[in-house]
């Protein structure tokens, strides 16, 4: 297993990643990003050392299309759009078609809506020149989802995406979700990620949300990648005037993860709420950075990260609030809370404020602690066993974010996931 630090990527991966009938502009972008990637530094996740992770151990084997397993078939009905590896296996776009909404795989988007994709892909939100991983993600992107909601379209029903890493065989999985919210549009996206099969493939999942003037996007995600998957996430929002993005993300991967969640508040009056819940178990390491950058005047960004640790796992939250000079009247608040259920776990919550403007309101709160004994006693005094009481306290602790998830079915999925993680815990028994 080759750690990422010394990994040298073969250019053959770029050709392997290309979509069918890919236009030159994209191939050109890939090539440039690939070349550049050699010189760019790896991103820094404070207090997380991932240099030995095999994040770039890709495979170019020619893949056979395996059949859709029952576990996936059973879930299809719950989603609007499902990608299994680099195959789209379900798309209910028809329900939204009349409003001019586009929802398709990245491969189809490149083919059918090339101009639109070209206008947004890696243009506003994620900068491919930022670090080695952003560059590699552009260069090697081999699947993804494109969602375009035109101006003034307001969707009542959530768009539910299921993105599956197919690890039944060696397979490169570099997924990019591109979401464009037109002016004054309003909608709700839920993206769930998971792994099937138990081959050790790394996963790279990036998402860009470009929120135009007065749009309001709610992005909820639930990440449940497999135990053998080393994962890199990068989700970034670009907000124009008075736009708003509410993020509520559950990071429940079973393998080690680094994740970078960002919102750039460019437009005057734009606003984001970035909320994350995470659970680390076993020997897992998860390092999550959430950053809001206030560029525009009267912008507001609030970060809430809540995490629970079991066993000998590690969970690091870095919350970064950055206010650029000139962003008068901006607000940046953050709260990072970690609950440790095991003495062998390692948790850390680091608020970082970088403020280059006087006329702002900024603040942070952070805590790393054990379970509240008084709460446990109170619940047990009503007959709840220690395990049940503990699960309830933990759920309550995470519930602050869960209650902000607007889709009840998603909330239930998250609760079920939390229960499962806690029940597998040998320490709490």
């Amino acid at each position: 297993m080759n750690g990422i630090k010394h990994a040298v990527l073969d250019p053959k991966f770029v050709s392997a990643a290309k979509f069918d009938q890919e236009p030159d502009w994209l191939s050109e972008m890939r090539n440039q990003a690939f070349e550049k990637s050699q010189d760019l530094p790896l991103p820094v996740f404070a207090k997380v050392n991932y240099s030995s992770w095999p994040l770039l151990e890709f495979s170019t084997k020619k893949q056979a299309d395996l059949e859709i397993p029952k576990s996936v078939k059973d879930q299809l009905a719950d989603y609007t759009f499902v990608n299994l590896g680099n195959r789209n296996i379900k798309n209910e776009l028809a329900n939204f078609l009349s409003q001019g909404v586009i929802l398709c795989s990245m491969a189809d988007a490149i083919k059918n809506y090339g101009d639109l994709v070209q206008k947004y892909l890696y243009q506003f939100a994620i900068d491919p020149n930022e670090d080695r991983l952003t560059a590699i993600n552009l260069a090697l992107m081999n699947n993804g989802t494109f969602l375009y909601v035109p101006d003034n379209v307001q969707l009542k029903d959530p768009i539910k995406l299921l993105t599956i890493q197919d690890s039944r065989q060696e397979e490169m999985f570099i997924d990019h979700t591109l979401i464009v919210a037109g002016k004054n549009s309003r909608f709700n996206v839920f993206q769930r990620t998971e792994t099937i099969g138990d081959i050790a493939n790394p996963a790279h999942l990036t998402a860009e949300i470009i929120a135009d003037q007065d749009s309001h996007v709610q992005y909820n995600s639930l990440d449940c990648l497999g135990p053998k998957t080393y994962a890199y996430f990068n989700r970034k929002g670009h907000l124009k005037e008075d736009a708003r993005i509410d993020w509520a993300m559950g990071i429940f991967n079973n393998g080690s993860t680094i994740a970078d969640f960002d919102s750039d508040l460019y437009g005057v009056g734009s606003h984001t709420e970035m909320q994350t819940v995470a659970i680390s178990t076993g020997r897992q390491t998860q390092g999550l950075d959430t950053q809001v950058t206030n560029y525009g005047r009267h912008t507001e960004g609030n970060i809430l990260q809540i995490g629970v640790l079991l066993d000998s796992s590690t969970l690091i939250f870095n919350g970064i609030g950055k206010i650029i000079h000139g962003a008068h009247g901006s607000k940046a608040q953050q709260e990072n809370r970690i609950l440790m259920l095991s003495p062998k776990a390692h948790g850390d919550a680091n608020p970082i404020l970088l403020i280059d403007e006087n006329d702002v309101i900024a603040g942070h709160a952070a805590s790393v602690g054990q379970i509240n004994k008084k709460q446990l006693y109170y619940l047990m005094s009503r007959g709840l066993s220690k395990e049940v009481a503990q699960r309830l306290v933990v759920r309550g602790f995470l519930g602050v974010v869960l209650s902000n998830v607007p889709i009840p079915a998603v909330r239930e999925q998250m609760v079920a996931m939390i229960e499962r993680k806690l029940q597998n815990d040998p320490e709490s028994k």
């Binding site: 109170y378 047990m380 005094s381 007959g383 709840l384 220690k386 519930g399 869960l402 209650s403």
Partner: protein
Amino acid sequence: MATLKVSNLHVSVNDEEDKKSKEILKGVNLEMHTGETHAIMGPNGTGKSTLSETIMGNPNYHITKGSIELDGQDLSTMTVDQRARAGLFLAMQYPVEIKGITNLEFIRTAVNVTRNEQGPLPIKKFLDKLKENLGILNMSDKMTERYLNEGFSGGEKKRNEILQMMMIKPKFAILDEIDSGLDIDALQVVAKGVNHMLSPNFGVLMITHYQRLLNYIHPDQVHVMMDGRIVKTGDASLAE
């Protein structure tokens, strides 16, 4: 008829400041049966809450001598949750707040775990019962959707303790200063809840330092506690 019996109970706590063990209860004797209403009165700091917490099984309190028995079974080896499932209930002087868990979800869980052998109460029955009890306590439905005690006023917390008691239906309930901080109206409501519970299968031990509560819930026996001991026992007239 069930019996709760406290014999020559000595209890120590470790002082939070100097970490030294300090004896609080110095030989308490008390026997009560279901169907009876008892009251313990006494000035602040004499060990009334210590007695309640020790009976319930709060791990901060250590029994150094004596025993607590429920129907002849020694409670000292039972954990808090086992005691609760055996039929003990403590309405706490300071109920804790838990964000993120709704009151409803908590009460439902508590009701079901204390019903072990009978299996969970069907949701419809549970909700009907809840509604009825909320009515008796003059509580709005909304109180059950809020997080457990979170942001509740002092009076709301007390009512919520009584609501839990009415739903769980213990054999013995200890009400630790259920009257403190309540105005007359709220006090009457709480008393109504307790009186509603009275039956040959339920015993209640009220702890208070005001006579006022006993105007609304009439005790069969009153015990006066001083400096870690019960110094006097008599009928309701002792409270006057």
